[in-house]
């Protein structure tokens, strides 16, 4: 019923207004798509971090490893206590946590991102349907005007 009301309003609008409306809706939808992609990338990175953490927890203390100093320079080292991890929580703050807490942190962040993703998806779908409806009405109007010529 609500969309019918909006549809009636759009019927009264001119072709230019409809075109502008559709362009704006398309633009907003593209922005939503970009945000959705960003969230997906961030979630993937968090999942990699989570896997790395889990792997780290399996390694014994004193295990030989190669430590990256730069992207192309590694130095040999030994694994210290893997029970403590430093978590980057943002704005330059790092928190020392246990392995368990670190894993929980990753879980929490991943869940937060997933719920944000779902919410955003809902809004984006609505915006897309508005854009599609506007486009359909625009087409209908153009067809109406064409035969008159």
């Amino acid at each position: 019923m609500a969309s019918r009301g909006v549809g009636l309003e759009m019927e009264k609008m001119s072709v230019e207004q409809l075109r502008a409306l559709k362009e704006q809706a398309d633009l907003e939808f593209n922005l939503f798509q970009d945000s959705l992609n960003n969230i997906r990338t961030a979630t993937a990175r968090l999942e990699i971090a989570s896997t790395a953490l889990h792997d780290l927890s399996l390694r014994p203390q004193g295990k030989k490893m190669l430590v990256p100093l730069t992207a192309s320079l590694y130095v040999p080292g030994t694994l210290d206590d893997s029970e403590k991890v430093l978590v980057d929580v943002g704005t330059g703050y790092f928190i020392e946590k246990t392995m368990m807490e670190g894993k929980e942190y990753c879980e929490r962040k991943i869940n937060l991102l997933k719920s944000n993703y779902d919410q955003l998806l809902e809004v984006a779908t609505k915006k897309k349907s508005i854009a599609d409806e506007t486009g359909a009405i625009l087409q209908a109007k153009l067809k109406q005007l064409a035969p008159i010529q």
């Binding site: 929580v89 704005t91 703050y93 790092f94 928190i95 020392e96």
Partner: protein
């Protein structure tokens, strides 16, 4: 002759007003950008605050200052993040006020431009008839 110079004056006025309008619009766009940056920072700081709140008293907190990780007192870190959140919130409110003001100015400028355009049109119509 009188009407031609009046016309020229109106057109100059229109140009000035159009320049003012475009400056206003640039200011509004800049305002939006700064607001976006602050909103993102606010969100990040609130996340940090949530994490800090979950910690025990004895948990270790470090702050990255340049290339150095410095151990911080949990209470101090909490206070700093809270202060930052307050500062950003006040900045955002201030920007909101400025934005409203700019938008009002923009609308009145648009109306003024419209009026000048109408006067130009009526002048030109008058000249055409003559």
């Amino acid at each position: 002759m009188g009407s031609t110079s009046a016309l020229k004056e109106l057109q100059r006025d229109l140009e000035n007003k159009a320049n003012d309008l475009s400056k206003l619009q640039k200011d509004i766009a800049k305002n939006h950008q700064v607001r976006k940056k602050y909103t993102i920072q606010l969100g990040e700081n609130e996340l940090v605050l949530k994490e800090l709140d979950l910690l025990n008293e004895d948990a270790n907190v470090y702050k990255l200052i340049g290339p150095v990780l410095v151990k911080q007192d949990l209470a101090e870190a909490n206070a700093n993040v809270r202060k930052r959140i307050d500062y950003i919130s006040t900045e955002l409110k201030r920007l909101d006020g400025i934005l409203q003001d700019l938008e009002e100015k923009q609308n009145s400028k648009k109306e003024a431009i419209f009026k000048v355009q109408q006067r130009i049109q009526s002048l030109q119509a008058g000249k055409g008839k003559a």
